[in-house]
């Protein structure tokens, strides 16, 4: 049991995109590129109701994985990681509940405020749900070379959640 490895913590803070794998209705995995938002304990992503199939999948089966692998989207960091975890959908009010994570989103995509100011132009895009992932197990490659075995860690947060 341990905290999030420092390198993975840095990847989560810097990554502009991750690939979230969820279990589809037929058992096949479906992967969605999303912006990962990290508060030091859980990974948050948001999804518009327009693209809400992933939310249906998560409600059916909350076991997920997300990976950060593209140095272009991590400001040049060459390390890579995959994080398995348990996801839940938070959407008390799809109109505004997601704004809880707006400060984290704004830090990665400052232009979000501009888009939000034009909410009237694409109103359904801003009806959103939060995907909250409690990390369970982490795999990471310090130098980003996927041909080498990754380092692994099981996280305290996941243990505590059990």
């Amino acid at each position: 049991m341990r905290e999030m490895p420092k390198l993975v913590d840095e990847l989560l803070q810097r990554a502009l995109v991750c690939e979230l794998a969820v279990i589809g209705a037929d058992g096949r995995l479906v992967v969605h590129p999303l912006i990962p938002l990290w508060d030091g304990e859980r990974v948050y992503m948001t999804s518009s109701i327009l693209f809400s199939r992933k939310l249906e999948h998560i409600k059916r089966d909350g076991r997920v994985s997300l990976s950060i692998t593209d140095p272009v989207a991590t400001g040049g960091l060459t390390a890579r990681c995959s994080i398995q975890g348990d996801a839940r959908v938070v959407e008390d009010d799809p109109h505004e509940t997601w704004e809880q994570v707006l400060p984290l989103w704004r830090a990665k995509e400052p232009a979000i405020d501009q888009f939000l100011g034009k909410r009237f132009a694409l109103p359904l895009f801003f009806e959103r749900s939060i995907i909250e992932v409690t990390p369970r197990r982490v795999y990471w490659w310090d130098d980003g070379d996927p041909s080498k075995p990754p380092r692994t860690a099981t996280l305290a947060a996941a243990e505590a959640a059990r």
Binding site: L50, R53, V64, A73, S82, F120, L124, E127, P146
Partner: protein, 445 residues
């Protein structure tokens, strides 16, 4: 399932993939992997991985790209997902994908992608409503909802001709401010009724639902498709707006005791109702431009003039001609992005009937005709000479012409040109009003 060979060309542009499969605990497990594309065999050859890739198992292979734009966000979003069973060949792992799916914002712009997903949004909100035991609907402030539903910014199409009719009357020494204000409100109400009716009938015919490339100038208000307003509410809004407009019109007719005003008003209301309403559905028959030109040209200008003067005159009719042509051209160009969805539901507008070349050239001819009408009627003394100021807007015609020619097939790129076309109508209208203002001022000096 046969995978399009072009997909393999695209795959070869990505530097690495992410392989995902389900581990023994039932969780998805992911690893980055280098790969090569064997387009001839329709296969991906995955390099050895530090986490052993599962053989004879179903996997998902995803390639993804995004370009960060520091300080703002990102662009160049694209990704491809492949599904299939991994096979071992020597030390390599081979995927001959059985299924593929992806999105590239260069091929399917984000706005179109979103528009295509409206149905999923509706379905999901119904599920959330059932889960939460209350109706969960998308929301927007009342101000924005009303503005969108009524397409209020397009009221310039009414304001320009009504003010022009009042200006011509003022030049003829007739001006009553409260009658002018009532005329403006009545005209605006009928215009709102028309806009909302257009949405109602385009929703019922399926034209708006079929349109996946709406822009701020075309494709309707989308408030029904996005679940912000119900069709019933739109129907009530439409009837309410027409009721206000007709009531004001009838009051003006009775107050002024003008039979010609009644005739003009009735024609105006009928044109606006049957623009999209059955059985005439004028816009479906390629008559939208003519209907719009009449309604927002002579009907409004002559009607506003009659309210003030109670007399017929040729001048308001002549003054309305350029405004009529330019308002028809707003509709005409706004139909370009809608032409495919319009064709699907039998809405045979001119851009549906004509080729891109004819549509483009016809715009130029019609726009130049509007300016020729101003020049001829001003020089011949039918309208005041200072209205020649409106010719200052002429360069916009050529900018718009170039824009249509270059962006005909690209709805979102065309938006700037459609915006300029709206400006052209407003600018010519304002300059004609300035010309009348100068003429009136000069007469009183």
């Amino acid at each position: 399932m046969k995978i399009d060979r072009r997909l393999f060309d695209k795959l070869a542009t990505y530097p690495h993939a992410i392989v995902s499969w389900t581990d023994d605990d039932g969780y998805p497990l992911q690893t980055p992997a280098l790969f090569e594309v064997d387009a001839g065999r329709g296969e991906l050859v995955l390099a050895a991985s530090g986490i052993a890739l599962p053989v004879e198992s179903e996997v998902n292979v995803t390639v993804s790209h995004i370009r960060p734009q520091p300080g703002t966000g990102y662009d160049q979003r694209r990704y491809i997902e492949l599904w299939g069973r991994l096979q071992a060949r020597g030390g390599a792992r081979i995927l001959a994908p059985a299924r593929a799916w992806g999105w590239d914002e260069k091929e399917t712009p984000f706005f179109e992608y979103s528009e295509r997903s409206n149905e999923q949004a509706r379905k999901y909100l119904a599920q959330v409503s059932a889960e939460q035991g209350r109706q969960v609907k998308p929301r927007l402030s009342r101000f924005w909802t009303f503005l969108l539903a009524t397409r209020l910014p397009f009221l310039t199409a009414t304001i320009v001709p009504v003010l022009l009719g009042i200006a011509v009357a003022a030049k003829h020494d007739h001006f009553n401010w409260w009658l002018a204000l009532l005329t403006l409100i009545g005209g605006a109400a009928i215009h709102i009724g028309l806009n909302v009716a257009n949405d109602v009938f385009d929703t019922l015919s399926g034209a708006d639902a079929a349109n996946v490339n709406p822009t701020q100038f075309s494709g309707g208000s989308r408030v029904v498709q996005r679940g912000l307003v119900t069709l019933r509410q739109m129907g009530a809004l439409c009837l309410g707006a027409y009721a206000v407009g007709i009531a004001i019109g009838l009051f003006l007719v009775v107050y002024r005791g003008s039979l010609p005003l009644l005739i003009v008003g009735v024609i105006g209301v009928l044109l606006s109702v049957f623009y999209t309403a059955p059985p005439l559905k004028l816009v479906h028959r390629g008559l939208g431009e003519v209907t719009t030109a009449l309604g927002f040209g002579p009907i409004m200008v002559v009607g506003a003039y009659l309210v003030q003067t109670k007399q017929w005159s040729a001048e308001p009719f002549v003054a309305s001609i350029p405004v009529a042509i330019l308002i028809a051209l707003i509709l005409y160009l706004n139909e370009i992005p809608d032409r495919r969805s319009d064709a699907l539901v039998g809405k045979r507008t001119l851009p549906v009937r004509w080729s891109a070349d004819i549509v483009t050239k016809a715009f130029l001819v019609a726009a130049l005709a509007a300016f020729a009408a101003i020049a001829v009627s001003a020089v011949s003394g039918v309208i005041p000479l200072p209205t020649l100021l409106a010719l200052l807007a002429l360069p916009l015609v050529f900018q718009i012409y170039r824009g249509i020619r270059e962006q005909y097939g690209a709805p979102y790129e065309l938006m700037a040109t459609l915006g300029k076309n709206v400006q052209l109508h407003a600018m010519v209208g304002v300059l004609l009003l300035v010309g009348y203002g100068i003429s009136i001022a000069a007469a009183h000096l």
